[in-house]
């Protein structure tokens, strides 16, 4: 039962109930859609980059579970002000955390994202946490086709 409490931490439920940056961007410079064909979850991410290549605004729209919505909500807060390379590097570290390749509480730069480490005990749910990040990466890389979970 403890792993359920780890999975559904208060901060995750709070983000899933009151997602930040939810809704379309007015003038996105980059956008992409993510789809988990196994369960039908969908997320779209739009980004506005400034002249210096920093993410000025990040927003998302999702039809998904608490984990994917909380992950998208936290992501849009965390990548604001970052360059594409910095945002991708953050995903890299987040990916290691949720797949159990790094330990929770060891990387301060992950901040609230650390709360999603509980998915490592639920292999079928890891893709829920990473789907918005795959969409974000695809948006930055200018990919037109919908990205799918690995």
């Amino acid at each position: 039962m403890n792993d359920l409490v780890d999975l559904y931490q208060d901060v995750i439920l709070e983000h899933s109930r009151h997602p930040r940056n939810c809704g379309p961007c007015e003038h996105p410079t980059h956008d992409a859609r993510g789809n988990n064909p196994l369960c039908g979850d969908r997320v779209s991410v739009c980004l506005t980059l400034d002249d210096e290549g920093r993410i000025e605004e990040a927003r998302f729209e999702a039809k998904g579970c608490a984990i994917s919505v909380a992950s998208a909500s936290m992501m849009t807060e965390m990548i604001r002000g970052k360059t594409a390379a910095e945002a991708k590097s953050l995903f890299d570290r987040f990916h290691k955390l949720v797949t159990g390749q790094s330990e929770p509480g060891t990387d301060e730069s992950l901040a609230e994202l650390d709360s999603l480490s509980g998915v490592r005990a639920f292999p079928t749910r890891i893709k829920c946490a990473t789907l918005p990040w795959h969409a974000m990466t695809a948006a930055l890389e200018g990919k037109d086709e919908e990205v799918k979970t690995e």
Binding site: M1, L13, L38, C39, G40, D41, G64, A66, I67
Partner: protein, 419 residues
């Protein structure tokens, strides 16, 4: 006469779910230290000892390739496989044993008909009637053949309870209608389609009907002659049989007129480089070495169900579904998806503010296995404006106690998400 009186007079033992459970070794599994509550039978059912033993017996005592060897084991395997075909014929009351084709599953059966019958009979502008609540396996094969021939799909809508709109169905017929492909029972909603009536109307227009019986065959008596079905498919693994085997029933005249689906060994009469001639039914549609052991074990599976009494299983599951509908429906924040008057075995629902995947994960930690997602029926999800549902699907070994365990686990969901 009540179903119990009928079965007593037929000499069957009384239906006792607790003794039935002992026939299924896997049901004693502990999941995270809790007793398994397996409520995902519509996805795939568990296997009784009789089926597991049949597979072992074939490989230990009667296995060789079939229909070609002159040796002892080949004859033994051939006899066992053909005896299984006869059991399946009897189970669905087909008129002739050669009308029973072994396929990998319902999906292959539908693809076989869509491809073989479809390419021979469909042309530009022809119409195929389906329902809005088909499984993807009864949509996509028709889309593929429609793409190849220029035919079009016409879709019968469902109403807000998930009941087929029979008035709309009748209106869809035109001189271009060439075939109807329809589910007997919806896998996402549990709705029982009045398939005899669907077939009667189609035949009134001279149109044949393929029935997807995947969710019907495990739960209710199927009589293909009484239904006058032209094609009827079902998967073995959903009826307590092995994976990788299923049945396509087709009327002999239709099957005879159809070209082969796959070419290879076993399906030929003579082969030269100039041309080949086809074997008789059912072998014309069974190219290559068949799935021998699983065919035989599927025979054992339908024997097992028949030994319990299909009608009694149906009556028992109906009562259990009514109990589950009442208990789950009484929970706060639950919306049932699919409330047709005639249903079997399936209870689909959503919970306000909690996504089905989160519900599925929490139930799993309580030992309760359910399916969450779109159930390979995305048009149904769209109809009810949901991305996914939680689906409880019953088997003949489920009990009221297990429904209570599922309801307690749903309370736990509310506890976690309501805090």
């Amino acid at each position: 006469m009540s179903p119990d009186d009928a079965s007593l007079s037929a000499g069957l033992r009384p239906f006792d779910p607790m003794s039935v459970r002992e026939d299924f070794p896997i049901l004693s599994t502990l999941v995270y230290g809790k007793p398994l509550v397996y409520l995902d039978n519509a996805a795939s059912a568990q296997k009784p000892r009789a089926v597991i033993d049949a597979i072992s017996r074939v490989y230990e005592t009667e296995y060789a390739n079939v229909h070609r060897g002159v040796h002892y084991l080949s004859q033994k395997a051939t006899d066992a496989m053909e005896a299984a075909r006869e059991r399946l014929r009897s189970f669905i009351n087909a008129a002739k044993v050669q009308e029973v084709i072994f396929v990998r599953g319902a999906t292959e059966g539908i693809n076989l008909v869509a491809s073989s019958w479809g390419r021979a009979n469909l042309k530009e502008g022809d119409e195929i009637i389906l329902s809005e609540m088909e499984h993807h396996s009864n949509i996509v094969p028709w889309q593929i053949v429609a793409g190849q021939t220029g035919a079009k799909l016409r879709v019968v809508p469902i109403d807000e309870t998930g009941t087929l709109r029979m008035d709309e169905y009748e209106k869809l017929f035109s001189p271009r209608t060439k075939i109807v492909a329809m589910t007997h029972v919806s896998n996402a909603l549990g709705t029982v389609v009045p398939i005899a009536e669907v077939i009667r109307i189609a035949h009134g227009h001279g149109v044949p009907v393929l029935v997807d019986g995947c969710q019907a065959a495990p739960h209710m008596a199927v009589d293909v002659q009484a239904l006058d079905a032209d094609f009827y498919v079902f998967s073995g693994h959903k009826i307590y049989g092995p994976g990788g085997i299923g049945v396509l029933y087709g009327k002999e005249a239709l099957l005879d007129a159809m070209p082969p689906y796959q070419g290879g060994g076993e399906m030929i009469d003579t082969v030269t480089f100039a041309e080949s001639t086809w074997a008789d039914l059912p072998f014309k549609f069974e190219a290559g070495t068949p799935n021998i052991a699983d065919s035989i074990a599927l025979g054992a599976a339908v024997d097992y169900v028949a030994s319990l009494g299909v009608e009694r299983v149906h009556a028992y599951e109906d009562e259990l579904l009514a109990y589950a509908t009442e208990k789950v429906g009484a929970l706060n924040n639950i919306r049932l998806i699919g409330t047709a008057k005639e249903k079997v075995g399936i209870l689909s629902f959503v919970m306000d503010n909690v996504h089905p995947h989160d519900i599925g994960t929490i139930l799993d930690r309580e030992g309760v296995a359910v399916r969450t997602g779109h159930h390979c029926a995305q048009p149904v999800m769209e109809h009810f404006d949901v991305a996914a549902t939680v689906r409880i699907s019953l088997g003949l070994y489920n009990t009221r106690g297990e429904i209570d365990a599922a309801v307690a686990a749903l309370d736990r969901v509310q506890e976690i998400f309501g805090r």
